[in-house]
């Protein structure tokens, strides 16, 4: 399948500030792509350019092979869901949802039918004559979503749509949106700064930093095989370990970290200084070595987190954070142990 949405060499500058920097991005039809990054990384600006609210300083944007860079927003057929919902406060729920259908000059009777069906689908049928100000945040969110979906647009754009909801409701809505995406085969571009949201919902995640995409991959690849230090640190928690490559061949290498030699995954040149990323939950703690890499450690701190414990481990000058499940027993401060981890869990980062 070719690219449904394509950004080609897109740059956006606001005055002297480059917000999006010569960026390429391709999104397939039916794909759920999250644009993830800290605020100011250019992800929202990219979405605004896709929606047509901002013009790129240079570069082209294509939709289904046709350039849309200069097409005004109302002719782009993209449903957008905003962070603060952006419902029309002077219209009822039903009028809000009917709006895009009226814009397409759908016959009156059909509008009524489709609005009703759409509202029933999100269990808001009973509230159709209320004004947005009479709804809870979650209900407003569902109205905004329905309004963006009802005219069956080619693409749904979401700009941190769940940011204003509390944690429980947010997680519920994440599943609801994921479910809609699967059922209706929608193409969704989703902007968020919440990494767990991106991991839960997306087919692919584009990690933004300073106007560029650091990595675009499936959630699993982004988490397990971060390509850069930024990605490793931004998504989840990680141990960054500095070392020198002493031996390498194919996809395997040996990296010297302090006194220890660790087998790692990655295609690198011997003699280079590199950083390794090692996720805390990949470290197994025990009394004997249990994997190709094993370091003798001392428990320096133990932090209670309810469902798990976070352990700070010291091995010489090296400090590692590990996650210990409650079932794995207690690790009082001062305990001597062995930290074991597999080579494929040590990812070499491009420094």
């Amino acid at each position: 399948m070719g690219a449904f949405i394509a950004f080609k060499n897109v740059t956006k500058k606001f005055g002297a500030l480059t917000v999006v920097d010569n960026l390429d991005l391709e999104i397939a039809k039916g794909e759920f792509v999250s644009l993830l990054g800290p605020s100011g990384s250019g992800k929202t600006t990219l979405l605004m350019m896709l929606a047509g609210f901002e013009r790129p300083t240079s570069g082209e944007i294509f939709l289904d092979g046709k350039p849309i860079t200069h097409l005004p927003p109302h002719r782009r057929q993209m449903g957008m869901v905003f962070q603060n919902y952006a419902l029309f406060p002077h219209m009822t729920v039903a009028e809000n949802v009917a709006f895009p259908l009226e814009m397409q000059r759908v016959p009156r009777a059909e509008i009524v039918r489709r609005v009703e069906r759409a509202l029933d689908m999100v269990r808001l049928g009973a509230l159709k004559d209320r004004k947005p100000s009479q709804l809870s945040g979650g209900q407003q969110q569902r109205v905004a979503l329905t309004r963006a979906l009802v005219f069956e647009p080619d693409v749904i754009l979401m700009d941190e749509p769940l940011g204003a909801l509390d944690k429980q409701l947010r997680e519920h809505m994440q599943l609801e949106i994921r479910d809609l995406h699967r059922r209706l085969g929608l193409t969704i571009v989703f902007v968020t700064h919440d990494q767990s949201e991106a991991l839960t919902m997306s087919d692919r995640i584009a990690v933004f930093n300073a106007g560029k995409i650091e990595q675009i991959d499936t959630p699993q690849m982004v988490y397990d095989r971060p390509r850069t230090r930024f990605v490793a640190e931004f998504i989840g928690e990680t141990n960054l370990v500095a070392g020198k490559v002493v031996d390498a061949g194919g996809e395997r290498a040996v990296v010297r970290v302090g006194d220890a030699a660790l087998s790692v995954c990655g295609n690198v040149q011997p003699g280079r200084d590199v950083s390794l990323s090692l996720r805390p939950e990949r470290i197994r703690l025990g009394s004997t070595p249990a994997a190709a890499n094993a370091l003798p450690v001392t428990v320096a701190d133990c932090i209670y987190h309810g469902d798990h414990m976070r352990l700070v481990l010291k091995s010489g000058s090296l400090e590692l954070v590990a996650r210990a499940e409650r079932l794995a027993g207690d690790w009082p401060v001062g305990t001597e142990a062995v930290a074991s981890f597999d080579p494929q869990d040590c990812t070499v980062l491009a420094s």
Binding site: H74, A86, F88
Partner: protein, 262 residues
């Protein structure tokens, strides 16, 4: 202690503002021919005078014609100005805004003299059109302020949402921006009408004998013969203004309720 002082101070300020108005009102019901206390007996004769005497009746009609004319003109112009000023790309927006608000601060006498010279040049002196234009100049700032405030309360994302849902710019304006700004437009219009209603100074300069408004008639009647009709006219103006102010307040409350999100 401090709380008690605050209350006393508040009462004094309100009294200071409102007593002169209250002082004149009972005189509207006097049966005497003099505008003085004590009131010998109560009667409605001065209200009768107000609606039967030609000069007074004509001045009320004039006030309504000029007031409505100035309101319509200033509301249209002021709303357009506020919409224009909202564009962030507008060069010198700050300067332009100040210019639009200038009639509020320029001394009325200066504005009156200037208006008179200009309207004579245009052949509009001593005509309804001339007075309406002069009043509208004075009213525009109120409309600009009121509509600008209403527009500022509109989240730009709402208009963007309308665009993304397929609405071309004109439709966005008609279906979203304008309906949300209407309370501001109406309360601006109310202020404009009230301003025109009690305007005297500029009217003195630009109006001929045929455009004598109620406020203008009160002013000259005080100088010529101090009849209690002035008090009756004052009561009429005050009640009218209070009704308008109440209407404006009501609209503002409704606007707040309609756009407020929980």
């Amino acid at each position: 202690m401090l709380r008690a002082l605050q209350i006393v101070f508040g009462v004094l300020v309100v009294a200071f503002l409102i007593l002169p108005i209250i002082a004149i009102l009972p005189l509207a019901f006097t049966s005497s021919v003099f505008l003085t206390y004590p009131i010998p007996a109560y009667s409605l004769r001065w209200f009768e005078e107000l609606v039967t005497a030609d000069v007074w009746r004509l001045s009320i009609v004039n006030s309504l014609i000029i007031g409505i004319g100035a309101t319509v003109l200033s509301t249209v112009l002021g709303t357009l100005a506020a919409l224009g000023l909202r564009r962030s790309a507008l060069p010198l927006a700050g300067l332009l805004r100040t210019l639009f608000l200038l009639p509020m601060v320029v001394p009325a006498v200066v504005l009156g003299v200037g208006m008179q010279i200009l309207l004579v040049r245009l052949g509009l002196a001593s005509s309804y059109t001339g007075v309406i234009i002069a009043h509208a100049v004075l009213c525009v700032p109120f409309v600009v302020v009121s509509v600008s405030a209403a527009l500022q309360g509109i989240d730009p994302a709402i208009e963007r949402a309308a665009m993304s849902l397929g609405a071309p710019p004109v439709t966005v304006f008609r279906r979203v921006t304008l309906p949300l700004a209407v309370p501001g437009v109406v309360s601006g219009a109310v202020f404009a009408f009230a301003t025109s209603l009690d305007e005297v100074v500029i009217t003195l300069f630009v109006a001929g004998p045929n455009q004598r408004t109620l406020a203008r008639q009160m002013f000259s009647s005080i100088r010529e013969n101090i009849s209690p009709t002035v008090a009756a006219a004052a009561l009429l103006l005050i009640v009218g203004t209070l009704c308008l102010a109440a209407l404006a307040a009501l609209l503002r409350r409704r606007e707040k309720r309609a756009t407020a999100l929980p």
